[in-house]
């Protein structure tokens, strides 16, 4: 029996794993899901997120609660990759493998925000549609929010069932944009985050984080293994849940 810890992406919540969680449990595994700060039904507000640690706090608490002998398969989607990487940096001995599912994946030479800021810089005006950036924080510590409007969201859910797109529209919440003001300028460490096994799952039809950007992140911070779900959009847990589970099961077997 393996123990999976599933981390959702920006504007989403634990709810996005509602298909994957029972599938993994049906295969006999333990699965922990949770809402990051100010996401899903977590009662905090985005204004409560002043640091990356604040954002990642529910995940850090989950990992902290496990015994020193426990090892988990940490699975992160999209923006969840950055708080997951922070958690891996803080608790490397508790992670057998970190799986980045069409996810932002930091390196160990730049601030953790680097890959996301590069992504923001690469969005064309045409692609932006109703992707909204907002501001919060103070003059001394300015922070940004991001929100996915229904059109941008539709692009992410292009190959997913319409009911899952409707579900998402009903549950979207403002997410912190992971800028260097939020993360600080220090990189994650080679002996922490850099020491764990990482696997990247490329989603071939992702219109949010395009394949070439996914490939660039892999080149920028090489992983142990790359897997692919060819026909998955940005949301493989909805568009290809069986294929995603199949790969997660294989990964867990391979990296004890």
């Amino acid at each position: 029996m393996k123990h999976y810890v599933l981390v959702h992406g920006g504007c989403h919540g634990a709810w996005c794993w509602y298909k994957v969680k029972p599938m993994l449990e049906h295969s006999g595994h333990r699965v922990t899901v949770f809402d990051l700060t100010a996401h899903g039904v977590n009662m905090s507000r985005v204004e409560d997120i002043q640091t990356l640690e604040d954002f990642a706090k529910p995940l850090l608490e989950v990992l902290e609660s496990f015994g020193s002998d426990d090892k988990v398969v940490l699975v992160a989607h999209s923006l969840g990759g950055i708080p997951a990487a922070l958690a891996a940096d803080m608790f490397p001995s508790k992670i057998s493998v970190a799986v980045f599912v069409t996810s932002f994946m930091p390196d160990t030479t730049n601030p953790p925000s680097y890959v996301f800021e590069k992504f923001l810089g690469s969005i064309t005006e045409e692609e932006r549609m109703d992707f909204e950036l907002g501001s919060y924080g103070t003059d001394d510590h300015p922070l940004k929010t991001a929100f996915l409007g229904p059109n941008y969201l539709k692009n992410m859910y292009l190959l997913s069932p319409i009911e899952d797109y409707e579900l998402a529209k009903m549950l979207m919440r403002v997410t912190p944009a992971i800028t260097s003001n939020l993360t600080g300028t220090k990189s994650l460490t080679a002996q922490g985050y850099g020491s764990i096994s990482r696997v990247y799952i490329v989603c071939g039809e992702d219109k949010g984080i395009r394949v070439d950007f996914q490939r660039w992140m892999i080149e920028n911070s090489p992983v142990k293994e790359v897997m692919e779900i060819k026909d998955a959009d940005h949301m493989p847990m909805f568009s290809k849940p069986h294929e995603l589970c199949d790969r997660l099961l294989k990964i867990a077997d391979k990296y004890p």
């Binding site: 709810w15 509602y18 298909k19 039904v41 009911e163 409707e166 009903m170 549950l171």
Partner: protein
């Protein structure tokens, strides 16, 4: 030449501990046929994280998002209200206040009050039949400065065995991930003025009976219909408390037929 079916505006109101999200299957089915659908989060429900249920002392406050929607409707627009479970009481408040804006109200295995007793009557009868064992470890806690509020937070077992027992496992999972504490507002509703004949009583009502409902039993549903007759009663066989998960296509078909019947 057949007359094109009229486009409806359905307003979907969730039950206790749930949110707008529970309509995620029904909403696109209705919209695929060209209808307008609004699925609301009531106060302290779904992703309304600006409030906790302990901040809400009256059913009217809880129903405020619905009341605001009704207020905002253009004068010439009528909606089809659909209430699930405790959502029936929010429907009744809206019906009493905005009867001219509603073509029909649909009570989906919901509490359906009358005009002769206090608004809490049908709920009190339900509560009187609930034993502590029947709540299966759900958390019931008083709140408010006078302890007159009673919050309820469904346990996993309660949801699994009494609400979602015939629904897909992934929808149970969804419910477990999104549930929030709610309130039954029994004490507050018991002190409220009766719903009026000219308001609530003037709006056509349809009742959808879910025969395998393990929480609001078929018997209680039928008792409510007998106590205050609906204009139309529809039965859903092999359906648990959550028809929007258990039988979403059939529920949508019934909602469409009801709307056609009363517009």
């Amino acid at each position: 030449m057949s007359e094109e079916k009229r486009k409806q505006h359905f307003v979907l109101v969730h039950g206790a501990c749930h949110g707008a999200w529970c309509w995620y299957k029904v909403k696109p089915l209705l919209e695929a046929l060209g209808h307008r659908v609004t699925a609301l989060d009531l106060a302290a429900s779904g992703i309304d994280t600006t409030r906790s249920i302990t901040d809400i002392s009256t059913c009217e406050q809880y129903s405020e998002p619905l009341m605001q929607l009704m207020t905002s409707l253009p004068n010439d627009e009528k909606v089809v209200l659909v209430g699930h479970s405790f959502g029936g009481l929010s429907l009744a408040l809206a019906m009493d206040k905005f009867p001219d804006k509603i073509s029909v109200s649909v009570f989906v295995t919901a509490f359906m009050p009358d005009t002769k007793h206090s608004p809490s009557f049908v709920e009190e009868k339900f509560a009187s039949s609930m034993t502590p064992e029947g709540w299966m470890g759900s958390e019931l806690e008083t709140y408010g400065s006078d302890n007159s509020g009673l919050s309820v937070f469904f346990s996993t077992d309660f949801m699994k065995h009494r609400l979602y027992q015939l629904s897909p496992v992934e929808d149970l999972e969804l419910g477990l991930l999104l549930k929030r504490p709610s309130s039954l507002f029994i004490n507050e509703l018991s002190k409220m003025e009766n719903f009026s004949e000219k308001g609530y009583g003037s709006v056509p009502r349809a009742y959808i009976v879910c025969k395998e409902d393990n929480i609001i039993s078929e018997d209680h549903q039928r008792w409510m219909i007998h106590n205050y007759p609906a204009n139309l009663v529809i039965e859903m066989e092999e359906t648990d408390h959550m028809p929007m998960f258990c039988k979403p296509q059939l529920l949508s078909d019934h909602l469409l037929a009801i709307a056609d019947n009363f517009c």
